[in-house]
């Protein structure tokens, strides 16, 4: 009897408790976050979408409504096409070169061998460096008069290359810096992933006579897959946002050959005082980001 009574009362009781418990929490904690999110994320996004329909310099209020003309001009702009191609190229290089490199190094330095920790630190160092500083450092490295490249060239007695001034080479120079800068970050992700893999799998595989490659192929890779998927996700989003390293390196030049979408936004939107046009670029960038981010999460990261 008492048992049934408590059983009957229990659901109602717990239901009321949930109300009692969560509502104040909601009332107390949701508004500030919601307010900040609305004020600094939703509102600017909406504003950008609105500005993108105007020819506006940034001074005063936008008054000259021009419909979708900004988008029309944008999609016809050769430099924007180049920026899109470059963003794609950065993504491909990140996935095809940077992540395998990071994975390879991670499998090496995650073992408990002497010096592993210091190598981890060295590989991670470029990532810690500020993007602008990295850009400036590499500008000196690539410099054809006084830089490292000039020194190497003079050592081998060949003409010094001016990679950042060559519109066919500059983007590869930039890609090199990107790989150098960010592989450490992905390596760290992989090290964390590797350390969570149970050692007993490897011991069992070893007893069964599996080769190193078989162990990597059949244990490491499948168990590391969620980390790899996350890593690719970071690469894709990161490549879309790339800006502060390119500015000191090339500023998007020569002849717009190293423009990314964000540097394009800066040089065509902000420095030219075409805030309406810049907003249109921002809107396109936003749509691409959202599509890629959600599409990727939907398709590849559903189970993670």
């Amino acid at each position: 009897m008492t048992q049934t009574m408590t059983a009957a009362r229990a659901p109602g009781h717990s239901g009321r408790r949930r109300n009692n418990g969560t509502l104040p929490v909601l009332v107390l904690f949701l508004p500030p976050a919601l307010l900040i999110f609305t004020l600094f994320v939703i509102l600017p996004m909406g504003e950008a979408a609105w500005y993108s329909l105007y020819d506006w310099s940034g001074y005063g209020l936008p008054e000259k409504f021009i419909g979708l003309k900004n988008f029309e001009v944008l999609f016809r702009n050769g430099a924007f096409h180049q920026a899109l191609i470059n963003n794609g190229l950065i993504m491909v290089v990140s996935i095809v070169i940077q992540i395998p490199l990071a994975l390879w190094l991670a499998t090496m330095v995650s073992h408990r061998i002497p010096g592993a920790v210091s190598f981890r630190l060295i590989f991670f160092m470029p990532y810690v460096l500020a993007d602008v500083a990295a850009g400036l450092i590499w500008r000196f490295v690539y410099d054809g008069d006084y830089g490292l490249f000039a020194a190497i060239a003079s050592f081998f007695n060949v003409a010094s290359p001016y990679v950042l001034a060559d519109k066919n080479l500059a983007i590869y120079a930039v890609l090199g810096v990107i790989v150098w800068k960010y592989f450490g970050f992905h390596m760290m992700l992989f090290i964390a992933g590797l350390q969570s893999i149970d050692k007993s799998y490897y011991e069992a595989a070893e007893m069964d006579g599996a080769t190193r490659w078989q162990r990597f192929r059949n244990i490491t890779l499948p168990l590391l897959a969620p980390t790899i998927r996350l890593s690719v996700f970071f690469s894709v989003i990161g490549s879309l946002q790339l800006f502060d390293m390119i500015m000191p390196l090339t500023g998007g030049g020569p002849s717009n050959s190293t423009q990314t979408m964000v540097t394009f936004l800066y040089s065509y939107g902000i420095t030219r005082m075409k805030v309406g046009f810049g907003s249109a670029i921002g809107v396109v960038l936003f749509v691409i980001c959202i599509t890629l981010a959600f599409g990727y999460k939907r398709i590849f990261m559903r189970n993670d």
């Binding site: 020819d55 003409a159 902000i270």
Partner: protein, 422 residues
Amino acid sequence: MKFRTLFGAAIGLALSASTSLADVTVKWLHLNTDPDVGAAWGEIVKNFEASHPGVKVEMQFLENEAFKAKLPTLLQSNEPPHLFYTWGGGVLAEQARTGAIKDLTEAMDADGGKLRAVYNPALVNGLTVQGKVYALPYQTGLVSFYYNKALFEKAGVDAADIKSWADFLTAVKKIKDAGITPIAGGGGEKWPIHFYWGYLAMREGGKAAFDAAKASEGDGFTSEAFVKAGQDLAALGKLEPFQQGYLGATWPQTLGLFGDGKAAILLGFESTVYMQGNGAADGKGLPRDQIGTFAFPLVDGGAGQLTDTMGGINGWVLTKNAPPEALEFAAFLTNPESQKLMASKNLIIPAAIGSGEAIQEPLVKNAAQGLAASTWHQNFLDQDLGPAVGRVVNDVSVEIVSGQMSPEDAAQQIQDAWALDN
């Protein structure tokens, strides 16, 4: 209108009277990074504060690019600076259009035009938008050719022989044949190359061509003069006159190259004589007597004159709600005494009439005299035509000289950008 200003003045007076002992702080936003200029300004501020008790001048600094990017937001904020730097041209016009800055016409013409009479009229004109003065002129500049005398001698070139663009091209060839880099070019920053296109357009079309293009008359920027300017520039580009890797070179690198004696010619500012030293590997650069100068040469059959000059026009803008003390300070900063102080240290070519005589350095003085004799002074095109069109001019100048774009396409791009804006 008159009543309102009077009323405003009365309130201002009343306020300043009641708070005469309290401090008024003039907020002065600048982008100077030269310590010598900073020191001279410090002196001027001290003089001003001594003669204006209760007024304090507070300097605020923004780096060049940051200044340009941040100013629109700053001007619309609740805490705009009272006084800031301007290059005139399209940006000033844009600022004027929004009403964020003060119309100084009345102040200029008060007391029978006492303030207006202080400055070189061409400069006041350069800071005037639709008949209204929006800034007090502060300094001006001249872009002209500077050359390394020793390298010219080595190549057997005499600067006095360079009368026309064709002569110039011949000289470039001769220098190149002598195994010397003829010209130091800053293609990475683009605007150093726009000096070439700009000057060539001035020499080809004269003032009339610019006036017509700006009024959107005829073929605008696609008219013959501008296409020809592009062709002249392309002809220079074909000679490959610049140093290796000039398309990535910054302006300081370019100055350094000239200062190191690795290039014979530089198209640069009036301050080249100093800047080349700062940029040089040894920190000294070429000895001053080893640097010569000549005006941008004429083109055959062009409408321009040798005395038509291109260079900066700079001034100080007051924001709408700036206190009267801010105007007093701006006038003090640009009065003949302060300008002479700056000029005597060779820091600026002053905007105040007669102050240029104080300049000591012969090369700078030479530029000042060139400006005094100017028949038409054109502001930098990337300022004058506004930031959007200006950047297109910079872009296409580099594209033309590096052979990436035809002069016709370049003219069309400028015209397209101009038509979009005007």
